[in-house]
């Protein structure tokens, strides 16, 4: 049992998952991840480098991955905006690597020390063009540790950049935790004697291992060679990856639920907000309201199957988030009118209190009862 800060847990989770390369640029509230890595890595023979900015930090991470490292960086909103071009590059080059974004109030410099959940859609759509995004989140120091390790694992399995979304409160919060043992995910290797194509649904083989791979951000096919007269191969590989993610949805989707059975109102929350939501649900239950909680740790790919199922049973879904209404959009799209979906937003740098969420849930139920059912 140890008293650990959220950011420290990320660093420890990364190292436990085999991370041996960190390139970054300091920014509140993510800085301590970097500072921890500066202490942890040299002693383990891993690489720590402070780059000149976030663009180069992301680039160095991708370069390092191609050098065979398990590489990561961590930043906050302004830096995350700057990393978007390279997240797209990592996606199209199928590079396993991890990006942590500890969210603070935005846009721009905003509220640099206060928590927010304003980068949730950016984690999905922040880079130009289309990609299949994987993004996790965490609501406790322990889950920050676990989800960091899981991010590395997913990045290996799908050969994609994986984003972990934290927030200023979780990053700086200390909790007493028992850190579970984590093994580095095995890196798939080509079967001996085979020489599969370097891209598509084939193992990741870094440089220096005897292959002269061609890596490019241009549209290409499984061979890696550019195909810019038309993007059919690139589109096909993207759709194949999306299919794989859909097939594996049950494994990829991390969540915990409380009292979902028979819940008339479901609070769908994620990250730090899920903690207040849990307390809110307990308050509601104590009040005799049939409330339940879906606490999502996997935000992207969007857990359609889960949300659709919940929408089947509930009368209403409340989506509290520390922004003016982001994740509620895909939730509403997935629900397709099966039940009412309501946002609960706040972007003033404060957390929701349990009372606020409980009150919003009560109001929503009242409106639902009184109101006309839409759709």
């Amino acid at each position: 049992m140890k008293l650990i800060q959220g950011n420290e847990a990320v660093a420890l989770g990364a190292v436990a998952a085999g991370c041996d390369f960190y390139a970054g640029y300091p920014i509140t509230p993510a800085t301590e991840i970097m500072e921890q890595m500066a202490r942890l890595l040299p002693a383990r023979g891993g690489v720590f480098i402070q780059m000149e900015d976030e663009l180069s930090a992301a680039a160095a991470v991708i370069g390092a991955a191609w050098g065979g490292a398990r590489a990561m960086t961590a930043t906050s909103g302004p830096g995350f905006s700057l990393m978007q071009e390279h997240i797209g590059y990592a996606a199209i080059t199928q590079t396993p690597c991890v990006f942590v974004d500890s969210q603070r109030g935005g846009p721009s410099t905003g509220l640099p020390t206060l928590p927010a959940q304003g980068d949730v859609m950016q984690a999905r759509f922040g880079s130009h063009g289309d990609r299949a995004a994987i993004a996790l989140t965490a609501s406790s120091v322990l889950s920050a540790y676990e989800m960091t390790a899981r991010a590395f694992e997913l990045s290996e399995t799908y050969r994609q950049p994986v984003v972990l979304l934290l927030d200023a409160v979780l990053s700086h919060m200390r909790e007493n935790v028992e850190l579970p043992k984590v093994e580095p995910a095995p890196r798939p290797m080509p079967a001996p004697g085979t020489d599969p194509e370097p891209f598509g649904d084939n193992p990741f083989v870094p440089f220096g291992a005897g292959r002269r791979t061609v890596v490019t951000g241009l549209a290409h096919d499984e061979s890696g060679l550019p195909k810019t007269a038309g993007g059919q191969a690139q589109e096909r590989m993207l759709l194949e990856l999306q299919d794989r993610l859909r097939r594996d949805a049950a494994e990829i989707t991390h969540y915990s639920s409380h009292a979902l059975e028979g819940a008339r109102i479901v609070v769908l929350a994620y990250g730090i907000t899920a903690r207040a939501a849990r307390e809110a649900v307990e308050m509601l239950r104590a009040d005799g309201v049939a409330a339940g909680l879906l606490d999502l740790q996997t935000l992207w790919p969007f857990p359609d199957f889960l949300v659709t199922e919940i929408a089947q049973g509930a009368q209403a879904i409340l989506v509290p988030e520390l922004n003016v209404g982001q994740y509620v959009i895909p939730v509403t799209a997935a629900v397709q009118g099966r039940c009412r979906v309501a946002p609960l937003g706040r972007a003033d740098g404060n957390l929701f209190t349990p009372e606020e969420i409980a009150q919003a849930a009560r109001d929503l139920l009242l409106a639902e009862r009184g109101g006309v059912r839409r759709g």
Binding site: M1, K2, L3, T28, P29, P112, T113, A168, V169, H172, M173, R174, E175, N176, I272, R275, A276, R278, E279, E282, L351, T353, P354
Partner: protein
């Protein structure tokens, strides 16, 4: 004070060691086998003016991490009192460094000569640890041994003796106040 959860707010001027005090208190609670969450104010504004560190201690899992209405409050500076010291739960305890009274004569809470005590120990910088000792002596928020071992855990060896001294002085101060009350 054995509320469950127990919500503690420590506050003071930037540089008075409020963050460390919060971590020590949390660490002590952990040593006591309790669940604990510690949060703190952050950033350039917290360097000057008023900074706070909050600790929630409970026998159960703690959902909401921040302190909305504290059960215990410690204020080491005037600005900290004005910003963070005037809200407390019914039946809660507010402890104030006595210098605050100079600027805010009508400040509400138990007044303690924390700085004077620290100065007497030869190091004004241990004000935070003296305050923590007094808080624990008065409220039994955590065990004294828990706090002692937290100090041993978090302090560089060269500063340990000094701080153990400050802690004990804080305990004594708290006891004296208790006795008087």
């Amino acid at each position: 004070m054995r509320r469950d959860p127990l919500r503690v707010r420590l506050s003071g001027r930037g540089g008075q060691g409020i963050m460390l005090a919060g971590t020590l208190l949390a660490e002590a609670a952990m040593q006591d086998g309790l669940h604990v969450v510690q949060t703190q104010s952050y950033g350039p504004e917290a360097r000057l003016g008023a900074a706070k560190s909050e600790v929630v201690i409970s026998t159960r899992d703690i959902a909401f991490p921040e302190v909305l209405v504290p059960d215990l409050v410690l204020c080491l500076s005037r600005d900290a009192y004005l910003k963070f010291g005037r809200k407390v739960a019914d039946g809660g305890v507010v402890l104030l460094e006595e210098a605050i009274l100079k600027d805010v004569p009508d400040a509400k809470g138990q007044v303690l000569p924390l700085r004077a005590t620290a100065r007497d120990l030869g190091n004004e910088l241990s004000l935070n640890v003296v305050g923590l000792g007094a808080l624990v002596a008065i409220t039994q928020a955590v065990s004294r041994d828990g706090l002692r071992s937290a100090l041993r855990h978090r302090m560089k060896p060269e500063y340990l003796d000094l701080n153990i001294g400050a802690l004990e002085a804080g305990f004594a101060l708290g006891e004296a106040i208790q006795a008087r009350a």
